[in-house]
Symmetry: C2
Subunit: 448 residues, 2 copies
Amino acid sequence: MPGGLLTDLYELNMAASYLRHGRNRTAVFSLFVRHMPKDRGFLVAAGLADCLEFLERFSLEEADLAYLAETQGYGPDVLEALGRLRFTGDVWAVPEGHVVFAGEPLLEVTAPIAEAQLVETVLLNHITFQTSVATKAARCVLAAGPARLVDFAFRRTQGIEAALAVARASAIAGFAATSNVEAARRYGLTAAGTMAHSFIEAFPDEEEAFTTFAADFPGRTTFLVDTYDTLGGVRAAIAVARRLRLPGPIAVRLDSGDLAELSRATRRLLDEHGFTDAQIFASGGLDEYAIADLVAAGAPIDAFGVGTKVGVSADAPYLDSAYKLVVYAGRPVMKLSAGKVTAPGAKQIFRGEHDDLVGLRDEPAPPGRRLLLRPVMLSGRRVAPPEPLSVPRERCAADLARLPPEARALRGPTPPPVRETPRLAALAERVRREVCRAAGITTRATRR
Amino acid sequence: MPGGLLTDLYELNMAASYLRHGRNRTAVFSLFVRHMPKDRGFLVAAGLADCLEFLERFSLEEADLAYLAETQGYGPDVLEALGRLRFTGDVWAVPEGHVVFAGEPLLEVTAPIAEAQLVETVLLNHITFQTSVATKAARCVLAAGPARLVDFAFRRTQGIEAALAVARASAIAGFAATSNVEAARRYGLTAAGTMAHSFIEAFPDEEEAFTTFAADFPGRTTFLVDTYDTLGGVRAAIAVARRLRLPGPIAVRLDSGDLAELSRATRRLLDEHGFTDAQIFASGGLDEYAIADLVAAGAPIDAFGVGTKVGVSADAPYLDSAYKLVVYAGRPVMKLSAGKVTAPGAKQIFRGEHDDLVGLRDEPAPPGRRLLLRPVMLSGRRVAPPEPLSVPRERCAADLARLPPEARALRGPTPPPVRETPRLAALAERVRREVCRAAGITTRATRR
């Protein structure tokens, strides 16, 4: 997809004005989440890979410029300058898979302001969406304990591209497989899936449907048992598996009804008939809350298929993310709009054992703390090739394991403290005073 | 994007089985929303255009087949049959922009079952997502009354493709413009946008920023006034407009704070200084509820920018949609899974003045009722070229105007009644008995 017009019009208007007046000096923009959504004790960073791919390809084509000339009346000088634009800046970012919190920069862009401004919309889009989904998926992983998770979201995401991104984000969060075949191919994931109710209905009866399917996929047969009556379906699956002497362990999928009760009854039936290695797969409107309830009820479920509610992060379908100018032409800046104050300066996250400090990028790291933001693009070029998905996946598992219980809680969690370093706090106070003086504001509530 | 692997694995497994056994007879699948989400009294149908484009191009390429051979072990006979597949079926659908309700088919596919099954995932995806967003956007249109609406969702949708679809769906629902430049170009919409807070901050002070911007865009200057202090910003905008003697009417954008109070104070300031034709534009976390509150408070706002909450349909981020087999090889079928019962047979919606009837496609239309489902694709070919966006837009405006007040209500609405025709009810009862008999179920709760 061409990159140049994938932006909000105001970005182009501002870029046009900057270019026209030769005001295209270096800016630093910081992308962060202002507040944690309800019931979120952590976020899982995701979306950076798509951001870098976008930045590498960014340019306005002839057709883009012609459209702008016709509809926006930009002059030839501006159009020529827009046509020459590429992304030539630096990007520092939190690598995908890391756990982060509100107020921490996920990504910072340092570039001539016209470039940095034009890419805002797409960077915010990828990071906001993919971080919200990776977070939701990680909560399911925490809820499921040892049970495996499979991404079933394709049919309910916001389009095809979204379905691919959801499969990838949930793999980063620790999902074992996806039903999305194109995503499996593209990202090297395991594709998983069995049959739908329609398959059963296309046969005169359930047992004939099961027999046909098992003969076609003998080593890995999962029977969908709830089309007519769940326990009747389990009995039919057992009968077919016996008759065909299937080589591999079978599985049954429960997709409706009281999953706790049905899974227990199904387990009993399977065990009574000697299918002690048969697995029980559950699906149907599940999310981390439902999974946690099933786990708490001792439901003997080996794997969960989760779709819709993870695919749209149903209980927190967006993050309050922002991309804010923090430095222009070497001058730290900040915004004082009601409820939307931003801290100035290029930043760094200093992660400790029990808390995070957000400070200035160029201040020395406090002892014993890790730096979370790393340079990922310099002068418009990646510093390294794209990571294989196993890398952010391991990063996420390690960070989730280190999270304190109060941050992992599904309901009413408390994220670890995130505080400013004294240097950042002092800079923010100095800039606030300067801004107020320049704007002629004499009194002003304190910053936060 | 290639089409063949854009599906859930189980669709391919089922198709493989059907093809292998020569069981690829004609099926009818019905796509509908089971239940209205909370606070939805109507839905606006959208997503059909993308469905038809997908169906027209559907095929599995060599690389798709190689991937399936390697990872799924499909045999050469199945791979060859999959490689020959194209979508050759018929599609009947509710045209985009029409108001519909739960239980009504939005789209029905009649095709050899392998084809009909393979396209399920993408059809459900487009219709579910775009219908949910068009519905949310239409609620904003109803709330805003005469005020104009602008789509600001690009930065918070689930990816780029989603942002384009949201711009289109909100245009169908009646939005006046979009900030998304690529969407504006692609769909012939009006692009709208002004400046961001970063623009103001990149200048020594607000007045210099305003002066530069107004000189660049003299005929259509909208000043963003809340970077430091909203009413101070309005005064600066007035000063700049006077000094530069701007030719067109100006506008100011309020993006934070108490929008009702600030819009009234802004209106007074503008009027006192003779800018009675200046417009007030409001944005910042708005949705239909916030817009309705502002309208009820008499806030003098001329246009609303709405983004995030419409872009993800925040209070109802998905629809409980389904794509269910209703006929196979001439035999009406239905599913009896707990809470997921489906009515058999190819259907039609008969719309009356005050209610809808859902009946069988081949039964005579009850007198005085309109047929909502129309053939849009026959034997894999569209019956007409894609509609210009003005057509679904007018359809939506007309249908919204006819909605009763209790269905238009933003909170606790009541949709008009949707009932089954006696013929559909009789068929459902007959098929239910047959299915129960075949499955050996003797007692069963009634269908709904």
